[in-house]
Amino acid sequence: MPGVVLNIIIAALVCWILFITIDIIFRLPEKGGVSGANAIGTTIAADKGSLNGGCMMGNIVCSPDASAGTLLAACGVFVAGIPGGLLAALLVYIGNRICHDPGYAGTTGAFCATFLIAGFGLIGIPADAFIAGMVIAILTIQGVSHPYASRLLTKLWKVRA
């Protein structure tokens, strides 16, 4: 039981760092990819938040980004190993195009996460820990406090920009 919980905590930290890094490399906080993402960004900014972080949160809502890619790759690896993860990456690519998103953050995230999760599987952290870990990671960004999360994301974005 402590081993399972420890695995999930490690997986959550790895997922958090992975998806934030890839999203910021692909310039998600710069502006909303669609008008809905911009609207979510300005709503969060108006509510004591920050605009760049809000735009990134809007982009996460409006199109499968690296966080969705990580979750679906974890699901794929859990069900069918590395081929399952690559299938998830392909479907995330199709999902990006359906959602009118010109970027490649989701596909890259799913692709990187597939090999990362398969690698962690070799040292004893199973893929189901990564599914729970990614759910916890997205909860800390989208589900606890929008003002604090958006300010944190803006700070990280300023390091990149």
Partner: protein, 86 residues
């Protein structure tokens, strides 16, 4: 109740989904509801795949997630003024 450590990831997804639904119900602004709805979609996708580990269920989970993202995108963009505002 039988206690099983292997079920912990499933329980975490379930608890997060219920928490997200409570936040959706207590939030007043529609656009901010969508952000909490996104958390719920993550948790439900995890629950779908963790409950039945099968390749067709993986496809169903991904289809659910991409479809729900598309719906959130459509609702948010309609609120923002639609295609005319893009």
């Amino acid at each position: 109740m039988i206690y099983d450590a292997a079920m912990i990831p499933t329980y975490i997804c379930g608890i997060v989904a219920v928490y997200a639904v409570i936040r959706i119900l207590t939030e007043k602004k529609t656009l901010k509801k969508l952000v909490f709805l996104n958390v719920m979609n993550f948790a439900i996708t995890g629950l779908i795949v963790l409950s039945i580990p099968d390749i067709m269920v993986l496809l169903a989970g991904i289809a659910y997630f991409v479809g729900s993202t598309l719906e959130a995108n459509a609702i948010a963009s309609t609120y923002a003024g639609g295609v005319a505002n893009e």
